[in-house]
Symmetry: C2
Subunit: 466 residues, 2 copies
């Protein structure tokens, strides 16, 4: 069974979304523009879904239009706002690490005679509000800044940039694809975009919110659907499912964000201790709870992804939202960090701690295997002496299982790192120190298991010497 660590590409369908989709295929299948009973019913479901999405995103219902994807939302939002604010001028500002859909619109805009300024980011991938604001001009028609980066998880200073845009009278589009549902969207946007399949909704639903009073001119021939902003038949069942899952995910967010934040923190800490010549990228503090990206020197990213897939882990690689060909990531390039051997781990809600531990257990060997043909002599990473690097949960297991677990897994930590074995088996108290003596490891001592996440028993601490 493959462990899915690519939630930033698409989240598994939330069970609530599936239930809502099934129900809405029965109740909301008709054309919501029709006057008969089933049409009116579809319309009511659509209206209710719009209210739900508006409430979660901090918008009014009549500000929300549904599109077919996050990319369509971004394209319609940017092109519509650029057209609507043409009187101000043809200047467009966006950060260097926006989603490729934003960059592509910028390229089109330039090709059509417009002007584009790209705001730089720091080594953590974060835009500097001052630098961003310095690019705003009297002829700037639109600015765009993501809520958080899709490749490295860095949260952007949307509040500050929105304030500076407001001062300059420039509308700001906030692409919230990676954060919507998981974290609150900062107020201050003029246009907001999001994508349901990133929050556990079905594919085929994007959100485009346009604040009342923001100038907008449809870039496509419009019809009467979705406030004249999104032409074409409205996909009511999928929208109902998207709204239901957004509410469900929002309700789980506080608990799951804290949990995933800790798991990502563990990956951020442990990968450099386990793998030589690796760089964890992205802002270490101002980051999304569920995304972590690292790059491995001397490694072909595609080969490493294939090895991880064989080992049962579905992860993605840099520039992953634009490419099946693994061209170098414009995000990593703009940050000035290593782009090779890039792995993005993004945890879906419900990710099991054990799966993260197993990932950390197999990663060093896989990277070493990919590097082996190169014949490099890489220094082992230096673990801070005695730092706790691994918790082996053997609670409920009887002798000799706790010792077997320890023997199997101690290789996952480098020499100098510490393992805590949680056990409520009395024999462990004797066997673990004995095993340490036999195998040349250092037995450090015993502590209550509760200090290491257990609910009973003791933690036996072993420092790996060899």
């Amino acid at each position: 069974m493959t462990v899915y660590f690519d939630a930033a590409s698409t989240a598994p369908l939330h069970p609530v979304a599936r239930q809502a989709l099934t129900a809405a295929l029965d109740e909301g299948w008709a054309d919501p523009a029709r006057l008969y009973r089933s049409g009116r019913q579809a319309r009511m479901l659509l209206d209710a879904a719009r209210e739900t999405v508006a409430a979660v995103l901090g918008a009014r219902a009549d500000e929300i239009s549904f599109t077919a994807s996050g990319t369509q939302s971004v394209q319609l939002g940017l092109l519509g706002a650029l057209a609507g604010n043409r009187r101000r001028g043809g200047h467009f500002v966006h950060s260097a690490v926006e989603h490729s859909s934003v960059l592509h619109v910028g390229e089109r805009h330039e090709a059509g005679g417009g002007e584009v300024s790209v705001a730089p980011v720091d080594r953590g991938g974060r835009a500097d509000p001052e630098a961003f604001a310095a690019l705003l001009r009297p002829d700037t028609a639109l600015a765009a800044l993501q809520s958080a980066n899709h490749e490295v998880g860095t949260v952007q200073p949307v509040d500050e940039v929105a304030a500076r845009c407001a001062e300059a009278g420039v509308p700001l589009l906030v692409d919230a694809a990676q954060s919507a549902g998981r974290t609150d969207v900062p107020a201050g946007w003029s246009l907001l975009t999001a994508s349901a399949h990133k929050w556990g909704g079905p594919a085929g639903v994007g959100v485009l919110a346009v604040r009342k009073g923001v100038r907008y001119a449809s870039p496509l021939p419009a019809d009467e659907r979705e406030g004249g902003r999104v032409p074409g038949y409205v996909n009511v069942p999928a929208i109902v499912a998207a709204a239901a899952s957004l509410r469900a995910v929002r309700a789980e967010a506080e608990r799951e964000n804290a949990r995933l934040h800790a798991l990502v923190e563990r990956i951020r800490t442990r990968v450099p201790q386990l793998v030589p010549e690796v760089e964890v990228v992205g802002d270490p503090v101002r980051r999304l709870p569920h995304i972590v990206t690292f790059s491995c020197l001397y490694v072909d990213g595609e080969v490493l992804l294939t090895e991880l897939d064989r080992a049962g882990f579905a992860v993605s690689s840099g520039s992953s939202c634009t490419s099946s060909t693994l061209t170098p990531s414009h995000v990593l390039a703009a940050m000035g960090v290593l782009t090779e051997g890039n792995v993005r781990v993004s945890l879906p809600y419900g990710t099991a701690e054990a799966d993260v531990e197993r990932f950390l257990a197999v990663l060093p060997g896989l990277v070493a295997g990919v590097r082996a043909p190169l014949g490099l002599d890489l220094p082992a990473p230096e673990a801070p002496a005695g730092e706790l690097l691994l918790v082996v949960d053997a609670l409920g297991k009887r002798c000799p299982l706790p010792v077997i677990e320890l023997a199997k897994r101690i290789g996952e930590v480098p020499p100098g790192g510490t393992v805590a074995v949680l056990s409520d088996d009395e024999a462990a108290r004797l066997d673990i120190p004995a095993w340490c003596g036999m195998r040349g490891q250092e037995y450090v001592g015993e502590a209550p298991a509760t200090e290491y996440g257990g609910d009973r028993g003791s933690a036996y601490l072993v420092l790996r010497r060899s």
Copy 2:
């Protein structure tokens, strides 16, 4: 339970589509651009769906792109072909009865400096190939003709127009939204568009086919998805369901088309016999099997739709694809026929004959009720003397039920029309002639029920005298 007669707006989800959707939510939920197992699996399902759709539509798989709706297909197809053939010129030709999405693109094209010529249609809504061809010029970049009309069901002369376009070197876009799946798409198109929810697939899937060698330039900033023609995340589960239902519908088409064609013929014949001052519009011969439209003088279409809804029938009205506000239909206007009191009946696959009979039974009273406040004295429609207008199926029912059924329903036919009562109850042979004598109707005679669609028993023919 409402009877749904609005398949031309959206067809009920085909059971095969629902099954395929459920399966594909399990098997094809991942991003098909990804390299890991679940991504590759989604890609394989997407490829298979593309092959299926291509085979049914008479295209190569690499000519097919999936969009989010029929309207998006039309917009991308028209704008992309106009942009790709800009070197020829800025002239665009389409028929007067195209879907509103085509008209809207034409308006945009004109507003942007292009030129549009509109090919006229006859009173049946059919374009004249000669008149169409006469509009083609050396600077014509694109022509568009629907396969069949969405409001009146008239089948267009695509073969002839395609031949004339080919002679002139003008690419032709064929909007096959109303016919795809039900009838073969005529060859000769350069671009082809369709919409899955019209053939029983889910909402959220359109098809855009572009023949190899046809010049096309994406009107939107492109990404790598769908051959560079449709930006944004690909909705694999819905596409899988769309393809599965297309194949299923195609397999049922021969049988269902013949059946629905006969039911529509019955409506075309009977409505003018049952309702005074009514006009059935659209080509009576070159028509889709499942669509019939009629207009009732002195009637507000919206009021009639509401009455039909109350009586348990979901039908639509003119200009139904553009409007929830029932503005006059550009299709009916171009045909030069009555636009008021317009009702479009479009039968989904599986429509029961009994439901059509019930519709014909309630319609006259509803129209009369809507007209009553006007105090008009309308002449009763003239029924051809003795024409069979109603078959009452009382097979398996015992005395006195056959006579009760006859008494209940004879009012549905106007004086001078004939009713056939199918019965295998011996008492009917005596009772029906007796009832005729008592009630002043004319008993015409007896014939085998099989001549009137029964499988046993006799048909007792009664001519309504009063």
